[in-house]
Amino acid sequence: MVGKMEAVNGVKSGSNSTASTFQSAFFKPDLSLKSLKLKTKQQELLIRVSILTLVYILAFITRLFSVLRYESMIHEFDPYFNYRTTVFLTEKGFYEFWNWFDSESWYPLGRIIGGTLYPGLMVTAALIYSIIRFLRFAVHIREVCVLTAPFFASNTTIVAYFFGKELWDSGAGLVAAALIAICPGYISRSVAGSYDNEGVAIFALLLTFYLFVKAVNTGSLAWALASAFGYFYMVSAWGGYVFIINLIPLYAMVLLITGRYSMRLYVAYNCMYILGMLLAMQIRFVGFQHVQSGEHMAAMGVFFLMQVFYFLDWVKHLLSDTKLFQAFLRITVTCAVGVGAIALGVGTASGYISPWTGRFYSLLDPTYAKDHIPIIASVSEHQPTAWSSFMFDFHILLFLFPAGLYFCFKRLSDATIFIVMYGLTSMYFAGVMVRLILVATPAMCLISAIAVSATIKNLTQLVRTKSKVAHTGSTKGTTSGKASSKASLDQSLPFQRNGAIALLIGAFYLLCKYATHCTWVTSEAYSSPSIVLAARGAYGNRVIFDDYREAYFWLRQNTPPDAKVMSWWDYGYQITAMGNRTVIVDNNTWNNTHIATVGRAMSSYEDEAYEIMRSLDVDYVLVVFGGVTGYSSDDINKFLWMVRIGGGVFPVIKEPDYLVNGEYRVDKGAAPKMLNCLMYKLSYYRFGELQTEYGKPPGYDRARGVEIGNKDIKLEYLEEAFTTSNWIVRIYKVKPPNNRW
């Protein structure tokens, strides 16, 4: 279906007056026009398909660094949960998965997993798995999970191609596909092993946008329907669907305001919204949010506005009197807006429409989370983006983006307005949160692709027309495209051809640089599984720290099956997935109080913490410690967040108690409470005896570069159960109450 529509479209655009690359190649003088036309078209198709195939393969293999360098393993934190649920899904079937109540996490509250996750990723992986099994390939589900993200990244390149083609032309599409295939901003979330929602969600996001733009361009219900299904897939896969359900109404609104309202838009938007909404309601986690949550109200408002517009259009058609219509227009618009406002007000006041959530606020206002929701602010990927990471993730796209915007504005259409809005809004969000660079990446690639494609096309045209001018002066008149007319204008300039060649070489150089940069970033920065750490040894050799898995394996083998492990929430998913033990809190941070309780235990004195741990039936406490290896994202460095989150719920925990003159330190000058709280004790227990670095005193913390302040740590209520070979993970057993006291 898609292919067919494309073909039709291709012919259309070909017959249009827009100047495309092959059109200029069209008029080569010394060959028969008719036979050449077919041949070049075939050639062009062949080249296009082979480029796309190569890009498709490239997108896949560039993400395999992590598998080659380490092994086929799941990365990071959240993917372990996704992996665990996928295994559950393949083993127990969809109904069990849908109704899954997990008693192993959030002890003793439990978690309804079936109703609190986006199942798209797991269902996709399970489907791929069953297809592969059906084809009689004996693969392990882990391999499927590891390779899901690269596979979908490859598919994204295809979507990017079609999107680019829809926005500009097929050249831009090809460039967009190539750019997005290796863009680090996207690779960071889609390397092999990064089995996370974003892996498939970016594909779904781009697909939805593409289909919607296609629907707006054609006014076809079929495309709108397809876009609704794309939206359904997106909703099933990632919470970022909220971006779509707000961007599309915003886009519709902008079109309405700029007077670009058309029947095409009406059909596309209404169909997409209503069907998309109904479909999205089938996802248990989303449920009735589309009609009940403040975040989705914009879409509904625009939907009603659209009806008012349609109605007005109809009335305008009926009424020939413009004056009467103006009056009518005024009344209707006032009424509509008034009714909408009242409905919203009543809905909000009665609690039917829930107000915006903190996460939404923190997106709009970068400082909000820091003041109000420490649990959001504590996540490193929720921090505001530094300029360097923009440069790191986008490289030349950062400079091509404004150029692309220029081209878009120059050839304004419904489609380019969409990509401009997508680009600008997502760039704003990317500035608010590091992780949202991911959402901005497709827009950056597409807009930059337009810039690259348009520039190179202009330049090549310059290079070619020079030689052509003498022979076919007449053909130039027929080409009314801007590029060629510009070319004819610029003809008078000196050194034009050489300049064009130089610029072409420059562009080529930049793109080469981009490719090398992307590959370098992928291999150096984004292919680390973060569960296995790598460092350079003293002789430049690669040292592997496999402490996490060592610790989880120890838990799995040496603790009773119903043991409860308390750790900071970062490690919850990994403990349940790899250690197969019950955890108190995990990365699904749905219950702030529970997390705050753990934060409180970690920041209390040992005896107070013991009471808390007893009340939660904790058997083991797990802390991550980087003092020996110099691993900086350990629990001591996260500790202030524990204090803040704990203090947010339990005011007995006060942040200033852990600071000295507003400074966070662990050495001799540290606050007394800091030196004696549970986290400090558990991290530095027996550390005072250890010589970590030559020429430094024992108890020298390499992660913070200081000698610790409390070297004589005695544990009364806990005992050391296990410490991994590099001391990264330390596990303590909570002692039972004293037998004789």
Partner: protein, 525 residues
């Protein structure tokens, strides 16, 4: 060399010994008696004999015996330990403070007795068990008002006390049946105080209010540290693992001499032919060695009402039955334990259900209750702690899950307007489509161009109409949804638990399935 045959017999007996005693059948104890003077064996023979006649096997060792050891190859050789070695500063063999405490912490019983010459070692064992002997090494308990009247008017260090703990379980009920009043216990030794931080130690025999602890041979220069009721003469500890410890400051209390001597408390006309020592010590040793007050729970079962198998997980609002059998060890066999104060908690951070179990008077306790409307990981918790009895702590973890998607009611009365709305909308859709497609003249002239504008293809036209209808449908549904929410609210107040969302899903599904779009959604159900 002399020990070799004994060693060999011990080795050959070991398999028997290992199985002679078990928590299930607590008879035939092996008890190690550590003496610092072999003469104690004969001077305290009545006490030892009473133990032996009750089935215990005593193994006498001198405190400095180099072969003395509590365990061999990781197995404890004894079930109880009696320390009659007040002066010992160091035991022979591997016996030391840590070994004794480990012995207790692994569930074995201990009797510590000392006298005025208590050594540091004995004191530190006692301290670890929660009692502190008077630190003055020459101090003894002196009582000038309730001393034991004896032939030789002494320094009032032999005192007669009848201030017992009020517990039939610990001291046996014979006191009530037997004589009118229990004869006082003759006591000569040092006093101790209970550590207030220890919540497990109990005073079994207390000194009278007029007693004090001081050196009887010297003048009191300063007020004594230990006086009156703060002085405990005999204390017991039941550890959390049910190991029992008895601590006494008087070795003489166990001696044949005091067992057999007559007793008269000063100021009292009652003269007893025989002191209460034998009865007191025997009954207390029965308790110490778990011949009394030992409970066990068996057959802990829980299941849904009407079923017999124990489920791995309950659902909220399930009705369940819980039962447990509690037995008491009578010294010979397990007898049903009868009481009416056994309670069960259904516990998740706090008890959601707290019920007293009903009893069938044959040791079986049972109840039934409804699982609360809260999901999570619960525990069946029976915490039974009564004075003198071993503590019963039965914990059984059980998750409680919410309803599955197909466990809600399919049709609910309050939602009838809602069903009506969706079905009428569906009917309306069909009628509208048919009329639109067939009756061409249905449209007035001015409507046609608008609709024609929508799309050219026929398929598109059908879908466009679908969307109109969906618009209408959704608006109607929204109206009804709010109505339903109101209805549900009132319904909620009546019935208690009521879930809306599921019915909505089915309705949306039904509507969409009808128009042929919702097949995918249908799959999800």
């Amino acid at each position: 060399m002399a020990n070799l045959p004994m060693f060999l017999t011990l080795i050959s007996l070991l398999p028997f010994l290992c199985y002679s005693f078990s928590p299930e059948n607590p008879t035939d104890r092996r008890i190690l008696v550590v003496l610092d003077d072999i003469g104690l064996k004969s001077s305290h023979s009545i006490f030892f004999k009473s133990l032996q006649t009750r089935g215990s096997e005593l193994d006498f060792k001198l405190a400095d015996d180099p072969k003395i050891s509590l365990q061999r190859y990781g197995q404890y050789l004894y079930d109880g330990l009696i320390l009659f070695s007040p002066t010992t500063e160091r035991f022979g063999g591997s016996l030391d403070l840590g070994a004794i405490l480990d012995f207790v912490d692994s569930g074995h019983d201990l009797i510590i007795t000392t006298d005025a010459s208590a050594s540091g070692l004995i004191r530190s064992i006692a301290t670890e068990c929660g009692v502190d002997f008077d630190e003055d090494p020459s101090a003894m308990v002196i009582d000038h008002t309730s001393y034991a009247v004896s032939d030789t008017e002494g320094d009032h260090t032999l005192i007669a006390s009848d201030d017992f703990i009020q517990s039939d379980v610990i001291l046996g009920s014979t006191t009530i049946e037997g004589c009118v009043k229990q004869a006082p216990v003759l006591y000569k030794g040092i006093g101790h105080s209970l550590n207030s931080a220890n919540s497990l130690v109990l005073k079994v025999l207390s000194a009278s209010p007029s007693a004090y602890s001081a050196d009887p041979n010297s003048k009191l220069s300063s007020p004594p540290l230990l006086t009156g009721l703060a002085i405990s003469l005999v204390s017991v500890v039941q550890a959390r693992n049910n190991a029992r410890i008895m601590i006494s400051g008087s070795l003489e209390m166990f001696s044949n001499r005091l067992f057999q001597s007559s007793a008269q408390k000063a100021g009292s006309s009652n003269r007893y032919e025989k002191s209460g020592n034998e009865q007191f010590v025997t009954e207390l040793s029965k308790w110490i060695f778990h011949e009394r007050g030992h409970l066990k729970a068996a057959n802990v079962r829980h299941h849904k009402v009407g079923e017999t198998d124990e489920p791995a997980m309950y659902r909220i609002n399930d009705d369940l039955e819980y039962s447990v059998e509690i037995h008491e060890w009578s010294g010979k066999s397990w007898e049903p334990y009868v009481s009416n104060d056994v309670q069960i908690q259904f516990y998740m951070m706090s008890p959601y259900v707290l019920k007293t179990l009903s009893s069938d008077q044959k040791g079986k306790y049972f109840t039934s209750f409804k699982v609360p409307d809260v999901y999570g990981v619960f525990q069946f918790k029976v915490e039974y702690q009564r004075l003198g009895y071993t503590s019963l702590s039965l914990l059984k973890q059980i998750p409680v899950r919410p309803f599955k998607h197909n466990e809600y009611e399919r049709f609910i009365k309050t939602a009838f307007p809602y069903y009506g709305a969706s079905f009428s909308a569906m009917a309306g859709f069909f009628i509208f489509t048919i009329v639109y497609l067939i009756a061409d003249g249905f449209h007035s002239r001015h409507q046609r161009p608008v609709i024609r504008k929508l799309a050219g293809a026929k398929f598109d036209r059908i879908v466009s109409i679908t969307i109109f209808i969906f618009n209408a449908l959704v608006m109607i549904l929204h109206c009804h949804h709010s109505l339903l929410a109101l209805a549900a609210k009132s319904f909620n107040e009546e019935v208690g638990s009521f879930k809306i969302p599921r019915s909505h899903h089915t309705i949306y599904c039904a509507a969409e399935y009808h128009v042929g779009i919702g097949k995918i959604m249908k799959l999800s159900f």
